[in-house]
Symmetry: D4
Subunit: 222 residues, 8 copies
């Protein structure tokens, strides 16, 4: 079992990683107030697309989806029609659900990439239980949503105190890719950047357009 | 010619409105710092899609696109393959370009819905020139991007001082639709909300899911 | 008809005022992101309770409440079981609904106190139409909710440009009461403050407790 | 005695937990500036109601309540007419008061849920003393109020450094409930959510209304 | 009577100005949340000291000071032991009180410098009534306190719409002084800056110390 | 004389414009708290460089520079060794100084571009006096510094109320240039952008580098 | 020597504590941008007054005070005319100065209360050196000033990582007092609160006034 | 190998330190949104200039600079024409590049001062790898740029958890200098402060000007 207090730098290894999509349900989405709805939906879909981009085993779970929490967004369901999808009927902490535990264990992976709604409950409880079970946990803070920035900050600090790595979507992508010349690398991931990281995607589009046009603007070359 | 100081409430009329997409170029996109890139791209595409949703005459323009400003995003170009697209080679204020003026005049419309990058230059200069020409101008503040929130606020105040209506994307949609029973109305616009206004779109998805499942959560009905 | 550009200071007169509760529906409540849910619910109920506190004619309206917008909160319905309640089936701007117009006109009042969800659409459209009809309009900015603070600020500026008075709940209360010795005055309104303005309510509770205990803390009287 | 540096993930157990309400007095309430008064009162009452919702032993304490600090709000006193209520006459840190210590010890519980005014003094001193005595401490950061957000953040970091779990009201509720099918679970706690967590409460009201009306809005089902 | 819509630039004239200190009571002080208590007390005392610094007729007023609103701070009372002090027993708007009106009229001045608690009620109502009576009004925005920044911004905009000059304490001082060589000028006002404008006061102390020491730091003169 | 209430859109004309640099002294620089020192110095130098870039008559003035206010930065003095430089010995409002008035009048220009420290005093007083004299005034809000963002916002609103155009540095540049093909245009101004508008300057450097390297990154062209 | 990683809760003991006032010089004061000048001066003087209030040995130090850093404020010098005052001629970290080390050691105290300008250098370097020497260090975060909030947060985190207690002025006062019935206690400290903690001071003034007037406001007692 | 959890206070030693400039490329510069472009460029150049000011071995590296990331700014290249410059063709984490590792090892230094774009990837990955290799790492948080403040805060916390010292540019300068009388000290570093730390630079200019003029402002000496 892992040392919960260990904070040794650990690098994500795409061969040893699994992606969890936890309770990103359309009802719970309304509770998220630490990001704008536009920004948060973008972050959720960017997180979900990581499984596709890196061919990671991916597990979906939802909580009481017939109630106010509602279903997962169809964009995610259509991305993973065949992934294990554990619909919990009552357990708040997904780790309390035997089917979910089995799904995680079945992957044989030890590095867990996780995000969920809300950060302080669905993400944090599961992340801390996973640490207790000896997993390495990488919590994508941008793809977790919370009732307030303050509550999110406290929840991230709580997770860090048991050795969870709290990081950004971009850090996850770059830790998984490691080298632009790997596969997946530049050719495979540029489309992910274009779709999910607009500042970089538009930078690349501008780069390509510059090469294609080849026209130096007067004064640029001073 | 319009009274520039008149602030009489004027309602948008979809039969009298034209949509302008001004300099939303991928290079200029990088200058936008009053919104996150994710949020701003969402707002730009929501604005652009208004022309399709309400079948409005739509005019595209760009500024020195072979230079650092770069091209318009392909999402917009693909939305409007046949719209008038005036590529300005030097004029900062689009109204200084004769082709652009002609394109606007050719629509015969008097209400101009506008957004651009950056708010204080591309949107504001054109909006104020249009006011001077007697047009009613509705500046979509969310789809205009700016170097800072402060500069955007000052630019919006400047536009307001000559009678420009500064408003949100949602206000534009609702002023154009007026009644959910009109055409376009609920059936035609729900997809727009689903795609471009995620808080409302996910609310509707949750509403539909509730009806489909029909399961009352214990305690809800107290 | 009123001069839309007139900004003459006008004082609220409880004998000439009507209270409007516009689209404060539980679904639309989720779209409100310029205040925390706790704060906004408090502000909505404080606004609604003004009709009771000052015995004002009060009109309720909702928009497409069978859809995602949902019903008005039961707290409000229970406060006004007999008030006119116009359920609009499609009109976004309540003034486009003949029943609503009749309900307002039936009160014979000329000062309209208004709040709604969302500020830039439901509040602003109606407020500006009322101005156009010659009414004096007092928009309670705290009881109107919006997708962002920025959109709310722009919408309030737009309303101001046609002479709408944009103000706080406390300003409305104090303009209606005018003198603590009036009726309603201190005895009738202290309970409103206690319930709806906690900083003042708790100040008063502390004041009363001090008198009751009568114990001077050592050092207080230096 | 507990290892103060231990940050092992520990789950709240409703059978082993006690609720502390510390110095939420109406005078001290005025010192709270890291939340709006409306939001903070809501958070205080939500915290207080946890004892009722989960049938936890609950202890009240106040500091020099005849002085400027004032009495506890009557809403809390009425909620717990029979709970132990230790009125400290001088001790800042409640743990320095023998009666308070006895009251805590008399519960026989080892997990302490705590909130108070102000965070950096009343909550932090007691929380850290409790850690020193070997208790597990769960500090509800939303129900503690402070002179500034900055001071609160530093105080929470200080508490975390001795192993206090700093978390949200929602996290406390969910850790105590664990499964919506437990008792208390969905039927018992929905009313708590409805009253104390308006974003969720109104989500549930909208969910119920959708089922009751059963009307799909045109376009929702695309 | 003044043109309420006139915004002509008008300069303060110390011979024609009166200073109003409105409801800066120790109870109402607690309602102020748009500034920190430390900053706000500093601003209130800086405002009050203007009457002394420029020998302006100064009028004090308070509202229901036996109730929760409490007395004026003794610092202000000690500054103006002989100034007219109108204790209103019920009128919210000080202009509704005949004694207050008489006190203002008795000064024979036409430029009113005003600040109060809270901005949206005590300052705004009086300022707008004074405009209606034909006075020029200069509202010191820093010395008025409000329940939130948002409410203050809206109240200031409301005042501006009837021609109130909303400005800073520093602008008031500089408009009254006009020239550092006037009397009062540099010798008389440096102590005011030292006490009430610490950034400037400490700048001057450093300036003096530099001259006194006369030691150039190595490298300064490169 | 100009209509102070006129807000007609007026375009800057480089043949009719003069640049004012008002009290950007190294002592007063310390009073500026609405921008970081790094950002503000950059904005001041960008403003000062406009005179050079567009060959505008430029006037410098300082206030009591032997006192704590200190001298103008040497960067500015070196930029304009021969410009009129009026060192005021006491007048706060530069317009009260006869030499300064003469210097402005001597240019024969009617459009005044202005910035200064601090916004609410040095910029605002002069800007409003200039309006009173019939000049068109363009206040560069980014190059004016203030004790707080709030005071700056109020001062800008005050200036707007007498018809001052409050705008950004970028808007000034673009209004003066009008067309990238003018002289000065792209070749002359690119160096200004490179030095004073780093987001644009670095965009252009990237554009040039892309053309020079001509290497398309794998995946960019999907 | 202390365990630098130890975070055991340690209570301040007024018999074992020394107060340090580090580089609060009038020149360095201008570098402080994480608090407003008004607020920060108040915090500095509140910190300095702790030595008087609790009769603590107090040590002053300054850095290169003949240079731009300037002298300590005279308010502090007048408070401690006889305290050890070490004027460092070059050492940035006060612990590098032998006289300063001797002054601290001469007190024989082991708990060091510290604040300074700037947080990330003058406070942090000394605080960390003191930890290394085995002292317990209590860094008053409100009385330390910094170039930005961000830099202050990082510096506080750095100090925490070596076991420095980062806390508020109020926490220091309350830890030193412990019980309102101690000496110094309520009679001695109320004047400190009145002067240095205005929210509490004014609360107490209101409390006293309530008792003295004894008038219950109509409606308070409902 | 270093203890990753060790947080012992370690002082920078200019004889044992190396400076890294990591991926501050003009394309990546556009991704930085936690600082304004003006502020961030200033911070990057201040960081780069540290190598010159303290004669530190300095290593430059860039990532895929023919792609959208673009080249390093010419200001930096011109500062270090002869420094080792490792252009990585694919490795995200510079430590994965053998040439870069060799360049660091060749310096023989054990203290690494680092900054880069973006904080959560280029800075954090390398910093943590360096810790793993036993180096002491000092991450300059102001000279690292990030997609958001939130992501930067999380990345800095992650670095701290493995013992990276996260600090400001000013702290780095002061730790390297230690004493103003050292070499480099006051004469050598004043120019660095003048250029890169404008608040201090302008303070010093004002200090010098005061000595040179020697004129005491009337009233300063009261």
């Amino acid at each position: 079992m892992a040392n919960l207090n260990s904070n040794a730098f650990e690098r994500l290894d795409k061969k040893n990683a699994v992606l969890l999509i936890v309770d990103h349900q359309v009802g719970l989405f309304q509770l998220v107030r630490d990001q704008s709805p536009e920004e948060y939906r973008a972050n959720v879909l960017a997180h979900a697309a990581l499984g596709k981009a890196f061919d990671l085993p991916t597990i979906l779970t939802s909580s009481a989806e017939n109630g106010p929490n509602g279903p997962l967004p169809k964009e995610i369901l259509e991305m993973y029609p065949d992934a294990p999808f554990i619909k919990r009927n009552g357990e708040v902490n997904a780790w309390d659900n035997a089917d979910f535990r089995k799904a995680v264990e079945a992957t044989g992976k030890k590095q867990i990439i996780i995000a969920g709604i809300v950060t302080d409950v669905c993400t944090a409880f599961l992340a801390m239980s996973l640490r207790q079970e000896g997993y390495s946990v990488f919590a994508n803070a941008e793809a977790s949503g919370c009732s307030s920035r303050r509550v999110a900050d406290d929840a991230n600090a709580r997770m860090r105190s048991v050795g969870v790595h709290v990081l950004s979507t971009f850090a996850v992508v770059c830790e998984l890719m490691r080298d632009w010349r790997n596969t997946p690398g530049s050719p495979q991931l540029m489309p992910w950047f274009d779709k999910h990281y607009p500042a970089y995607g538009y930078l690349a589009r501008g780069h390509l357009a510059a090469i294609k046009s080849g026209v130096v603007q007067p004064g640029e070359d001073e």
